[in-house]
Symmetry: C2
Subunit: 391 residues, 2 copies
């Protein structure tokens, strides 16, 4: 397989845009990415679009890639609509990576886009529930409840407290305050977080990701064709792994079994010929901010049960050993479900290029994006991606 | 890229199964395919699921691959949910083909499944409308109306009559009567077809595909690994093309411009190193049966405006030069949107293996599957696939 490079990335700032359609949101991200890559729409040979709840929200099912990309200047090329809940965009990214790595095409576009804000919030919540396994949703379980149960398991096993868990949001809300693409740009104090409304114990409002509208896009090309383009800093895709939830009898937090996040990361590490110590910066899927602690351990950045101490020592802050969620993560940046995966990639690309401004990690050479989406009846997530990028 | 073979195919008969879920329908197709391939679920390393309107019909969005495949014995492997309207299943097939052709995996499963029959038919119709561009649906245009307009264009340009157009359904309903997987197994006379209710002139009921429940699955593997398996007749994927509708100012039926079906076929012909005369049998996307005439021309099997004469001479019947829709096509087999693409592939695999029973085409060596899905505002379809298989 051929090496694949990211030529450009672009985003539409995440936020609340009642008047904007999926096409409007994607437009800004796509054209920012094309400009960043210094190529034009006609150079793009294949496109994947990740979106999760647009069918229920906009009424347009089945052909959202074509209806969103057509008015944006694309047509007559292979287009694939992919869904994988919160990992939809990263799955779209992987699809384009594979089209190019295989040798079939030289340049492709991956877009993630989501429209969530409506006048009628109940419709959005109802759509969100539909990306967890229906049997689970019917029990009244949704993402916050499931995340809270996972946090409780972690607290029980390792003796962490709610106060410990809230520290993640302190770090990430600060990071988000430095990110012009983030929805929520206010750094919260520990006290403010613990005084925000309780959603599902131990999760308070500021420890949960918010619904958001937004889009993110990436232009990929075969590394061997790079000389054709006048680009600034191509970033190489070193590992690109996808997996799915497993049939299991117990939660890895209750046993010593490896989690699916760990198993997926191992595939990416193997593809990249790397190990955890090689990662300089990481974006992880903290739909509920304390979940970042579990991911920090599952990705191998610290030992089991050590993530709270690791965080307290500042190891995961921007100036730390392995800065995590420098973008602010899902809680500060906002979480337009089908766009998040490529927003993570954009953040890592900017970090590896040294373009992350006030949140720049010093001399970052290798970065990781970890994504998990949907919840299965047995509590495992449905879709997992792990993407390692290097400069 | 590596050569990819189809090891096995399986279907759930298309029809009306009010009590069956997506998982139930897929189960039969998947396990028939595994049995046909003589491999087990644990041999499968990657899976794609194509489905189009399951989100609106079942309430399960985002992770249908995982929720359908999990209870069927799959987990912890890469799973991708793809949509491309009526070309969803063929897009899923192409995804698995690419995973294997690229060298990433050796064996994969592609499934197409759709559940359409509900007590409340209005819900199904409303869901179906959502896979054409919303702006078009809002004008009251849906598939039958759009197909009728295309037929009218063809009639105007080439002087064909409604009586001519009805002949396709005579042939295909006969073919379907020989297919145990077909929903409608009654051969209709020319008179019966023209006396069936008028849907949208010139289309009568028996010239349109019906909603249906069903599933189809295929097991693919790297051809170089074939010796590991005890298979009967591996079929090789010679060409596998995907494209999307284009921005255009006029319909190719009004000009001499090549249609997107032609352009997509050219990609597949080039990949296969073949031309139209090399094709021995073809399944084409006749959601409205007369559209088969246009496809017959656009795929290069006969000249422009010649398809009616070609059909009348029996060239496209089972004993003809290039038998088309030996399965009965979409009108006789039924059209569970997200399953149709792989049902076409199953039919061609059976034909190339000599397993098609009473509808067997003599000594078929090469077959083609042509699929088009969704309708864009400008009248072009949204997604196009063209897959060439050889024995």
């Amino acid at each position: 397989m051929r090496e694949v490079a990211i030529l450009g990335v672009g985003m539409h700032p995440f936020g609340r845009y009642l008047d904007k359609s999926l096409t409007d949101l994607a437009h800004v991200a796509i054209w920012n990415a094309l400009k960043d890559a210094n190529v034009s729409a006609k150079d793009v040979q294949v496109a994947y679009l990740g979106n999760s709840i647009g069918g229920l929200i906009t009424g347009q099912e089945g052909i959202r890639a074509q209806t969103v990309l057509g008015p944006n200047g694309f047509g007559g090329i292979p287009m694939v609509n992919v869904e994988n809940a919160c990992a939809s965009a990263s799955t779209a990214f992987r699809g384009v990576w594979l089209e190019i790595a295989s040798g079939l095409y030289d340049m492709g576009l991956a877009v993630g886009v989501e429209k969530m804000h409506l006048e009628d919030k109940a419709r959005t919540i109802s759509a969100l529930i539909s990306v967890s396994q229906l049997e689970l949703s019917k029990l009244g379980m949704q993402f916050v409840g499931e995340g809270a149960m996972r946090c409780k398991r972690y607290m029980r096993r390792y003796g962490a407290t709610k106060e410990d868990l809230a520290l993640v949001a302190v770090k990430n809300s600060y990071n988000g305050s430095l990110n012009p693409y983030a929805f929520h740009r206010k750094p919260y104090t520990h006290e403010e977080i613990l005084k925000s409304p309780l959603m599902a114990d131990p999760l308070h409002l500021f420890m949960t990701s918010s619904i958001a509208d937004g889009a993110a896009a990436a232009i990929l090309c075969a590394k061997e064709t790079l000389k054709r383009y006048e680009t600034k800093h191509p970033i190489t895709v070193a590992g690109c792994a996808l997996s799915s939830g497993r049939c299991r009898e117990s939660d890895p937090l209750d046993t010593d079994e490896e989690s699916t996040i760990t198993l997926t990361a191992k595939v990416a590490y193997r593809q990249a010929g790397m190990e955890p110590k090689d990662i300089d910066v990481a974006e992880v899927h903290d739909a509920m901010s304390p979940i970042e602690l579990i991911s920090t351990e599952d990705l191998g950045f610290c030992g089991k049960g050590e993530a709270v101490q690791y965080l307290k020592k500042g190891k995961t802050q921007i100036s730390g050993d392995i800065p995590i969620n420098t973008s602010g993560g899902l809680c500060a940046r906002g979480h337009p479900v089908g766009a998040t995966g490529i927003a993570q990639i954009a953040e890592i690309v900017w970090q590896l290029r040294g373009e992350a401004g006030p949140r720049q990690v010093e001399d970052a050479k290798v970065g990781m994006c970890e994504d998990s989406g949907g919840v299965l009846f047995n509590g495992d997530n449905a879709a997992f991606t792990n993407i390692i990028l290097k400069r």
